[in-house]
């Protein structure tokens, strides 16, 4: 395989670029940031083009000794699970840079730099093949995010950002202990070595719980989701987009990379817990979304509900096995989860972007302050309705594909799981469409709405690109499922074998 240290480039180019943007100062930072993000995106395209979908092995690998004392390697590589997420990240960062173009007037250089550095770090999270390297990136991400919410956030930003930081930090420190434990037992921090370790049941359960805490907070799963609505509401538009579109995916990705293959027996044992948490997120959080008065909060809660499908899809394999005795259908479930992650990246990004467009004009996110926006902003209204439909899982949009795959697969596990999961089609439609009804349609609600201007070219461009992907993925998900297929089969095959020592 050709190896131009592509993954290293994807990590360090935006970081170095971000520092350069910082140095360049407030005047030149916008075009520079745009160039850096576009170049990074272009650099990430060869990952897709050169990707070999026929193997589950790591591709574009790089490996260098990093910390000799602990045998920690700077080891990068991607498979079908991480590749789409890296592309999603480089794509969304471009959108964020454009979205902050005119909106951010306070210290724009620092703003752009923070997002570019974050982009590099997140690429590192997805590419890391050494557990400690993963952890370093996983934690390092908190620093720029903390600054972004705290500096450019809303009125209650300090509370939100400290809550965000401490919540995620608390979640991940237990994972650190587990990783060190695995290192002490197996003598290596390499993730693949951890995949092949034999671990006793008690240890597996504890390790699983620590991973659940780390990734569950990140996803976020009910009941550790409470930081998310706060963080979303207070974050600037760019911060909300990256939180929803990328950062939540890291939690889901962590389950696939760590929990399932390292502690499969504990995963099987505790599948009921994951199912319980996922279904609660889908049903209960869906109802909570219904009663929100704040648009961002509504979308934040709907994100939690949608991520419930992701975690459910990932762990359905054990429920299916328990019910039918075979793992048939597991691939569908897990693919559904992955498609849902990518699709949610586009949809939630688009939703937050749309809310940002409204907020920039009206400076409020209260649903009751709006009404009849379609009269003044017809183009915007079209996009908003499309994204809301996608959010509620309308067939033909990407939101439908993932949810449908998961629900379909869940019938093999249990009728009741499938039934409860499917309620989202009603609840999701309810909160999304009711939001549309109250804000977009109807008569012009007040004078401020009457003065609204429709989207400008910059906003139109961003919304159009996102709409394109939402539809593309909805009508033709095959390219996505194709690249991840083999990796998922490999993962299920691996996770279905017991790792208990004999």
């Amino acid at each position: 395989m050709d190896n131009w240290a592509l993954l290293s480039l994807l990590i360090w180019l935006p970081i170095v670029g971000g520092i350069a943007v910082l140095m360049a100062g407030d005047h030149w930072c916008r075009p520079m940031a745009l160039v850096v993000s576009i170049v990074t995106f272009v650099v990430s395209l060869p990952l897709w083009i050169g990707f070999d979908a026929a193997t589950a092995a790591m591709q574009f690998e790089e490996k260098r000794l990093w910390i000799q004392t602990f045998g920690i390697h700077y080891h990068l590589g991607i498979d079908g699970l991480s590749m789409p997420l890296i592309l999603l990240n480089t794509f969304i960062t471009m959108i964020i840079v454009i979205a902050g173009w005119e909106v951010i007037q306070k210290k724009p250089a620092q703003y752009m730099a923070a997002f570019l550095i974050m982009e590099g770090i997140i690429n590192g999270v997805f590419a890391a093949q050494d557990a400690m390297l993963f952890y370093v990136f996983f934690e390092a991400m908190l620093i720029p995010m903390f600054i972004v919410i705290g500096v450019w956030g809303g009125a209650n930003r300090v509370y939100a950002t400290i809550k965000f930081f401490l919540y995620t930090f608390l979640g991940s420190v237990f994972m650190l202990i587990s990783l060190i434990y695995l290192y002490n037992q197996g003598g290596s921090f390499a993730i693949t070595d951890m995949h092949h370790m034999k671990i006793g049941m008690t240890a597996q359960i504890l390790i699983f719980l620590s991973f659940l805490l780390a990734f569950g907070v990140k996803v976020p799963m009910w009941p550790v989701h409470t930081w998310l609505p706060d963080a979303h509401v207070e974050a600037p538009t760019g911060g909300s987009i990256i939180l929803a579109a990328i950062m939540l995916k890291i939690g889901g990705y962590g389950f696939l990379r760590f929990s399932l293959p390292i502690v499969p027996d504990a995963s099987e044992e505790l599948t009921w817990l994951i199912m319980l948490m996922s279904l609660t997120a889908i049903v209960y959080i869906g109802f909570i979304a219904l009663v929100q008065q704040d648009m961002k909060k509504l979308v934040a809660y709907s994100s939690i509900a949608h991520m419930g499908f992701v975690t459910m899809g990932f762990f359905l394999m054990f429920a299916i096995h328990k019910n039918t005795g075979s793992y048939d259908g597991s691939v569908l479930a897990m693919q559904g989860g992955m498609v849902q992650m990518v699709s949610h990246g586009f949809i939630s990004g688009a939703m937050f972007l749309s809310i940002g467009v409204l907020y920039d004009r009206m400076h409020t996110r209260e649903i009751s302050a709006y009404g009849g926006v379609a009269n003044r902003m017809p183009i915007f209204a079209g996009f908003f309705v499309l994204f809301a439909m996608a959010n509620s899982g309308l067939p033909g949009t990407s939101g439908f594909v993932g949810e449908f795959m998961v629900i379909l697969a869940s019938f093999k596990a249990s009728f009741w799981i499938a039934f409860l999961a499917a309620t989202t089609l009603i609840v999701g439609a309810a909160y999304s469409l009711w939001l549309v009804k109250r804000t977009i349609f109807g008569g012009v609600a007040n004078d401020e709405v009457a003065l609204l201007q429709d989207v400008n070219k910059r906003e139109f461009f961003m919304l159009a690109v996102l709409a394109f992907f939402v539809l593309l993925l909805g009508l033709w998900p095959d390219p996505l499922t194709h690249v991840m297929g083999v990796s998922i089969e490999h993962l299920i095959n691996h996770a279905s074998q017991s790792k208990l020592p004999n």
Partner: protein, 479 residues
């Protein structure tokens, strides 16, 4: 006799005495010469140590003095940090009419005490080094005679320090009475043949030694002096107390507990666990309640000492080297933190409150970024160096099968992260209440930049220093 082993210390002693005399003949306006000479003395001492780096472990003065890899590494770190302290404190002292020759001679004598502690190989020399360091530091704390708070702090420091020395000395005398030797090798031979948990007298002596060391570390419950002294002392002196001496105390702890009583580990491990857990809990929780930045850093030091003790109490080589890595990197981090406080102070204004950090990002983004690095390094967030220090300690603790201790440590780290975040919050999220320009000479600003970027550099490439620590501990304990 092999005097060459102790060349650096002998040189430092002679040069400091020379500097003391030279300073007498200098005009007040030429005080700068004293400062430069002090730096030259420190650099020369470092060079003398560096030239001896490749030599094997050797002892001198009938085995009272040892020069090994661990000693060399710690000494170089101490000297570099003291150089940093002198650079950072120059303007601060100048603006408060404290820019006197005595500051440097006392500082150098304290340094000499630390070097002797690090190389001490008998209990007597340990005590001598400790007293030399402490006496110089007591005087430094009281350096501003007319400042009531500083005098109070010095008094407190002196009385409690004297008690601590007394406890340590008492413990040593019991050990001497039991083993008939003040030599650590002799003690080791004695302890090797005893069951420490059955030998009440030995355990008694050990308790006193741990209490004495606990005082010097500032570990809970012997921490009472730390916040008061940190707050009361002039910031330049706080910086000196809060950094290099920790390395020296780490060294004597390793000498006494590991080289002298490794076979008694079952005894001291439990005592240290208690100290470490209490330090972590009290340090981190009480730090949250502080509004004074120096007191906050004092409690933060206490919690970090808990981590260093955790490394030592693992009683394995990974633990000792982890603790050493922790002590060195913490000293560098803390140096930078105090430098920012000095930077915020100016003539007639002492930066004391956390709120003095407000709006630092608006006032000077680069300094704010440096402080951000120091704070996140202390909080242990990767990719800053503090994370690897904690990682190494946690690895050693888990290796020693103390899972619960590791869990306490990480939970306390999360609690501790709060007050570091609060400092960052003041700098980045709040508006400045004080718009005075921040002035510093070129040496200060460049050192501060190096110091801050070192947090990042050591965080991205921690392998080298970590490897050196591991090697140093391995070679030193091999003999």
């Amino acid at each position: 006799m092999n005097y060459s082993v102790a060349t650096p210390e002998i040189f430092l002693l002679a040069a400091t005495c020379g500097l003391l005399l030279l300073d007498l003949f200098l005009e007040k306006s030429n005080r700068f010469v004293t400062y430069v000479m002090a730096q030259v003395v420190l650099i020369s001492t470092i060079l003398l140590i560096v030239t001896r780096l490749s030599e094997p472990n050797s002892e001198a003065f009938n085995g009272m003095f040892v020069a090994d890899q661990m000693a060399s590494l710690l000494k170089i770190s101490v000297l570099v940090i003291i150089m940093g302290v002198f650079v950072y404190s120059r303007d601060y002292l100048g603006k408060r009419s404290m820019f006197k020759g005595e500051f440097y001679t006392l500082g150098l004598f304290a340094t000499l005490g630390m070097l002797i502690m690090i190389s001490a190989n008998t209990m007597l020399v340990i005590y001598l080094g400790l007293e030399l360091m402490s006496l110089a530091l007591y005087a430094l704390v009281a350096f501003r005679r007319d400042d009531g708070r500083a005098s109070e702090a010095a008094m407190k420091y002196f009385v409690l320090g004297a008690i601590a020395s007394g406890l340590l000395l008492y413990g040593m005398s019991i050990l001497y009475g039991l083993s008939g030797s003040i030599d650590l090798h002799g003690v080791a031979t004695y302890v090797a043949n005893e069951n420490v948990m059955q030998n009440v007298v030995l355990l008694f002596g050990l308790t006193f030694i741990i209490a004495g060391l606990g005082f010097k570390f500032g570990a809970v419950p012997f921490h009472m002096w730390v916040p008061d002294v940190y707050q009361g002392a002039p910031t330049a002196v706080t910086m000196l107390i809060g950094t290099a001496p920790k390395l020296a105390v780490f060294a004597i702890t390793i000498r006494l507990l590991v080289e002298g009583m490794e076979f008694g580990a079952a005894g001291w491990q439990q005592m240290l666990i208690l100290l470490a857990v209490l330090s972590l809990i009290v340090g981190n929780i009480v730090a949250i309640a502080q509004t004074n930045i120096k007191r906050m850093l004092a409690y933060s030091t206490i919690s970090h000492m808990g981590f260093i003790l955790m490394g030592i109490l693992s009683a394995n080589e990974q633990g000792y080297s982890a603790a050493m890595f922790y002590a060195i990197t913490y000293a560098i981090t803390s140096l930078g933190g105090f430098a920012i406080i000095i930077l915020l102070s100016r003539e007639g204004f002492e930066a004391e409150e956390l709120t003095d950090l407000k709006g630092l990002n608006d006032r000077h983004p680069w300094y704010a970024f440096m402080m951000l690095l120091f704070m996140f390094a202390m909080a242990g967030i990767p990719p800053l160096v503090g994370f690897y220090a904690k990682l190494a300690v946690l690895q050693a603790v888990l290796e020693a099968n103390l899972l619960w201790l590791a869990i306490v440590a990480v939970v306390m780290s999360v609690i501790g992260a709060f007050y570091y975040l609060r400092a960052v919050k003041y700098m980045y999220f709040d508006k400045a209440k004080d718009e005075a320009p921040l002035e510093a000479h070129l040496g200060f600003t460049s050192l501060l930049s190096i110091n801050g970027l070192l947090m990042l550099a050591l965080g991205i490439f921690p392998g080298l220093l970590m490897g050196v620590c591991v090697e140093a501990v391995r070679m030193s304990l091999a003999t």
